[in-house]
């Protein structure tokens, strides 16, 4: 064999004995050029589309970028802005050639807080920080579970921080929930689950209706701890949008789950009531509901009772959004295979146990995209309160324009408001995609 080898090595001198170094592929089939050929110029039609797109982007950027980047940040009114612009030599025939961002600086407080007393701005800011810290453990389960205590306390704390008043109000209201929990905890053994559930609903309601008022005033007269109270009318700008949006989101979720269960229920009356409620709410635009809250709610309440317009709006927004969420969750419930329900029954779980342990976790997981898009819808819909006289960001943009200083300013305000909404809503939709990926348990 070795002889043969040496022979071939001698006779066939043209056979290469070592590998050639690898050559780089031709430029046309690798790197950015290949990418561009495949993704931008794969056919005549595609090339045409690419060129048109680039042209569109170019035209838009040329029109907008200099306008935005050369914007004036330091001026007291639109006229000052124009003077500064003219002094720079960049005057135009009509309109302004550069953005006047100064309006945002000048009216920042109003856009953010509305008429909230300026010495108390720390309270909404603190409430926002608290809110973000409190929802963090709900959003990301890698955070310590003990933070959930803060989550439970957060609604009461935020309410107190925002509206102020006696510290006893949130404490006594929270006491109602504690009472309900206590009834379930200690009553389940003696009363049975159904009576305990009814008690857990009735006791807090009776407590809030009859005991809360005297208890708060009594405790407050003994220990008057409190901070300056702020009326709902003072809320405005993004503070208002956030408060309505966040309360709507927090309150509509449980209500939506209950409505969805009601709609899937076998109990005839409960089923029909849920269906009627959901269809009526969904069939009518939110703006009509808001006008109903403004004009008609007074008719349906006991004579003489009157409550805050903002609370009415929050109730309406919550009801509206819960009907949509109920439909989304119903889709999730319907999508579960029948075997899951039967499996839960065969384990001997009762209705609430099977819902809590088997059905809802799976149904909610399926419905996450839909639920989050309803939340996004709810948050966007908070701007509709401008029609019933509350000053949300759009309401303020109109009010600012009505001022002689800023008469004629449009785009800067619209861009700012749009950007704020975009960041919040886009963030929510990205989070829902993250959650979907995290919870995906089917291995595909």
């Amino acid at each position: 064999m070795s002889e043969l080898h040496s022979e071939t090595a001698l006779d066939t001198a043209y056979v290469r004995t070592e590998m050639l170094p690898e050559q780089t592929p031709p430029v046309t089939v690798s790197g950015p050029i290949k990418w561009a050929r495949e993704n931008l110029f794969s056919s005549v039609w595609n090339a045409l589309m690419t060129i048109i797109s680039i042209y569109v982007i170019y035209v838009v950027l040329v029109a907008i970028l200099p306008w935005m980047l050369n914007g004036i940040w330091d001026a007291g009114s639109l006229n000052e802005c124009r003077e500064i612009r003219d002094a720079r030599g960049g005057s135009g025939e009509h309109g302004h050639d550069v953005a006047c961002w100064a309006v945002l600086v000048d009216r920042w407080d109003q856009l953010m807080f509305g008429f909230y007393p300026s010495d108390l701005y720390w309270r909404p800011i603190l409430a926002l920080v608290l809110f973000l810290t409190a929802i963090a453990p709900v959003l990301y389960d890698s955070l310590p579970r003990k933070m959930l205590i803060l989550t439970v306390l957060m609604p009461f704390l935020c309410f107190w921080l925002l509206w102020g008043g006696s510290i006893w109000t949130p404490i006594v209201v929270a006491l109602g929930f504690v009472l309900g929990w206590a009834v379930v905890k200690f009553g389940e053994g003696t009363l049975g689950s159904m009576l305990a559930t009814i008690g857990a609903i009735l006791v807090p309601i009776l407590f809030w209706m009859y005991l809360t008022g005297p208890l708060i005033s009594g405790l407050h007269s003994i220990l008057p701890i409190g901070i300056q109270s702020v009326e709902s009318r003072a809320f405005g700008g993004f503070l208002l949008a956030f408060v309505i949006g966040a309360s709507g989101i927090i309150l509509s979720m449980p209500l939506g789950v209950i409505l969805a269960l009601g709609r899937q229920s076998d109990l005839f009356i409960i089923n029909k009531c849920s269906v009627i409620f959901i269809e009526v709410i969904r069939g009518v635009p939110l703006i009509v509901w808001l006008f109903t809250a403004q004009l008609l709610l007074g008719y349906f309440l006991p004579p003489g009772s009157n409550f805050d317009l903002m609370v009415r709006v929050i109730i309406m927004v919550t009801l509206f959004s819960s009907a949509y969420i109920a439909e989304v969750i119903r889709g999730g419930l319907a999508a579960l295979p029948r075997g899951q329900y039967e499996g839960a029954d065969s384990l001997g779980l009762n209705y609430w146990q099977s819902m809590q342990l088997i059905i809802l976790p799976q149904a909610l997981k399926i419905s996450i995209p839909g639920i989050v898009s309803s939340f996004i819808g709810l948050f966007k819909d908070t701007v509709l309160v401008v029609f019933i006289g509350l000053f949300d960001p759009i309401g303020f943009s109109n009010a600012i324009r009505a001022d002689t200083d800023w008469n004629g300013i449009y785009w800067e305000l619209f861009i700012f408001i749009g950007l704020c909404f975009f960041i919040c809503c886009f963030g929510m939709s990205r989070y829902s995609q993250y959650l979907e990926r995290k919870l995906a348990t089917d291995h595909r």
Binding site: I57, V386, F387, W411, G418, F422, F426, S429
Partner: protein
């Protein structure tokens, strides 16, 4: 053993109402029913008490009273002497008009954007993503106001069109004028209108001429001809299909026959009525003639279409992606052309996924048209739910009627959707 064969004791204890699952559901329902009835009773008695305290009654008679306000855009005859009921009807027609226009435009935009988002072209895909995300994440109200501001602030005034070297000029062959007071487009008018034409007075040198006019009868006749043509086309199509199934040969020129049966009668009617176009003209300080599309309509229409179009784009994309690749591959393996694959294999399956959410988007668009308030478009909420309520003080009745209109619209559309869903549902098991 005896215990097993014993018949069950027919005894009933009250505790069974709570502890026995057979009776418990009944208890829960009765309790719920009583609670709901009690709640409703409270609401109604409160309403009666409050109304009587205010000295109001519950009466829809105000619909027959004189409205006394003007509506700047009307599809039917209306003046401020008309009744509130007629004002509400004008509003309903305006709502339906903008909803219809919006649905058509949104579908076109959404389908184009949805398909382009799936395009292999990177930059086009990204552009469409920007469009979709931008419109989905910013409130519709803001878009309506922005487009309205673009129209009123960004467009030239009518006087800019004047003179030899005017600053602005009409587009599309001098037929369309885009001004800050709205868009003026040519109107279709008839020289032999069914409603009768007036003659212009003969001046020196200029003979009397027919003034083109338009009446309800003209368009009704046109629609009858068009619908008749579509019906005939359907009959021809069915005949062609039957023939193809019987003989295996498709009758030649079937498509052209069907096209002609739709187009010909309608065209003949138009020619018989003497169709011409009435172009907008600058007279005095404003344009006259043609059709004036107000800024409010334009802003509402475009914003609704662009906003809903972004949602439809996502629906279309999801629908096309839901058809598995195997279907496309199988149809290529059968030797089908790309266009056949799309029309006969992919689209029918994608449509089943697309149509239900698409219709619910149409519904959303119709409900969102109530944002017309922001730009002063006179839809049903602004007439019945706005001015009428303010003038008559009938909040309860007005809001009830308004709610009933929207509810009826959405229930009708849902019913149609359910019928469609059942007809295209996969027949499984």
């Amino acid at each position: 053993m005896a215990t097993l064969t014993d018949p069950p004791q027919p005894s009933f204890h009250f505790s069974q109402l709570i502890y026995d699952t057979r009776y418990r559901s009944l208890t829960i329902q009765v309790v719920a029913f009583i609670l709901i009835m009690w709640g409703l009773f409270e609401l109604v008695t409160n309403a009666i008490q409050n109304l009587s305290a205010l000295g109001k009654d519950f009466d829809f008679g105000f619909l027959g009273n004189r409205a006394g306000y003007d509506i700047n855009q009307r599809l039917i005859e209306y003046s401020n002497d008309s009744t509130h009921g007629r004002a509400a009807f004008v509003g309903i027609l305006n709502t339906l008009l903008v909803a219809f226009l919006g649905c058509v435009f949104a579908t076109i935009l959404g389908v184009i954007a949805g398909v382009l988002r799936l395009s292999k072209n990177w930059i086009v895909g990204r552009l469409m993503t920007v469009y979709v995300e931008g419109f989905r994440n910013i409130p519709l109200l803001l878009w309506i106001i922005v487009i309205f501001a673009v129209m009123t602030e960004g467009m030239p005034q009518p006087r800019d069109f004047r003179g030899e070297d005017a600053e602005a000029s009409m587009i599309l062959g001098q037929s369309v004028a885009v001004t800050n007071r709205g868009v003026y487009i040519p109107n279709v008018v008839f020289t032999r209108s069914l409603g009768g034409n007036e003659m212009s007075e003969a001046a020196d040198g200029v003979p009397a001429a027919v003034i083109p006019a338009v009446s309800f009868g003209d368009w009704a006749l046109f629609l009858v001809a068009l619908i008749g043509g579509i019906v005939v086309s359907g009959i021809i199509g069915r005949w062609g299909k039957a023939k193809q199934e019987a003989t295996g040969i498709r009758p030649p020129g079937l498509f052209w026959m069907r096209a002609a049966s739709v187009v010909l009668p309608a065209t003949l009617v138009l020619i018989a009525l003497g169709v011409t176009l009435d172009y907008p003209e600058l007279r005095g300080f404003n344009f006259t003639g043609g059709v004036h599309l107000r800024n409010s309509l334009i802003a509402l229409w475009f914003a609704l279409s662009l906003y809903t179009g972004a949602f439809i784009a996502e629906i279309v994309r999801a629908g096309i992606m839901s058809v598995s690749k195997g279907q496309t591959e199988a149809s290529s393996a059968l030797g089908m052309r790309a266009s056949w694959t799309m029309n006969l294999v992919v689209l029918p399956q994608a449509m089943r996924v697309i149509i239900p959410p698409l219709i619910s988007q149409y519904l959303n668009l119709t409900k969102n048209s109530s944002l017309a308030l922001a730009v002063g478009y006179m839809d049903v909420r602004s007439t019945l739910g706005g001015i009428t309520i303010n003038q008559t003080g009938r909040e309860l009745e007005g809001m009830l009627l308004l709610g009933a209109f929207y509810l009826a619209t959405s229930l009708i559309i849902s019913a149609v959707m359910n019928v469609y869903n059942n007809s295209v549902k996969l027949k499984e098991r």
